[in-house]
Symmetry: C2
Subunit: 166 residues, 2 copies
Amino acid sequence: MKTMLDTIISRRSVRKWKPDPVSEEDIRDILEAAMNAPSAVNEQPWQFVVLTGPVLEEFTKINSNTPKGAPVGILVCGDKKADKLGGFYVHDCCAATQNILLAVHAKGLGGVWTAIFPNAIPELRRLLNLPDHVYPLAFVPFGHPVAKQGKPTSRYDETKVHRNSW
Amino acid sequence: MKTMLDTIISRRSVRKWKPDPVSEEDIRDILEAAMNAPSAVNEQPWQFVVLTGPVLEEFTKINSNTPKGAPVGILVCGDKKADKLGGFYVHDCCAATQNILLAVHAKGLGGVWTAIFPNAIPELRRLLNLPDHVYPLAFVPFGHPVAKQGKPTSRYDETKVHRNSW
């Protein structure tokens, strides 16, 4: 257990990367982690767009809260055609995104969960040719971190734990 | 890396448990994993209610899609007072929920992500005395699984991967 908990606790957002590319094998493993998230009634309502090079650069101009300079990133999209329970696809895709971050970190790479802001979506749809039923939810740029991470402090906070009642 | 990816891929929903309790140390570790999820602008907009005994039993009657019989469960709630970006607390809480599932699995326990259906919320609020700004989002009952899990097949699906464009 310690290894897993350590991996979860030592993961922190990384926003600066070396230009070195990420291997195709690593990208595949990270996507595999994403697709093994749980989902409501096992609907697996996700689609992934892997962005590199000029398209990634263009993406970070449109969704401007995404830091620039990563060699690669994964856009996690909800597939509304696969949504069976009226919106729980958002939960499922967030579970998949968290698996991406953990797999990235476990490989010694670094990444950050960036939100897709609604006002950026029409332009992103045009850039990536996304069909209407595919909704971009989160973007994780990742790569080899510039700085070696220190050991972060755990965010455990006892005041947020309630027992059988508020 | 293999260990982490294996943990992610071998995790599956567990819905039947032995009556044996889960140790307080395990519950704390699992809550620590939850609280080390990422969150938008590090807002950490989560609160957790640990349910056991008669309250847990009552909970599963109200939120009837939650399987009965777990010795313990964690209700993940969004704290709207901590939400700074207009609704991204849902994403943050889902990342925390996925960490709970992974930590449960890594400990050899088993759990399942169950949705909180909107029509159950008023009664759940009364049962748990939840304030208005606290929104119940997901519930994970967990414990010692009755059955030993086989090795599941990975859900990796190449058709869901797109490169730089749909």
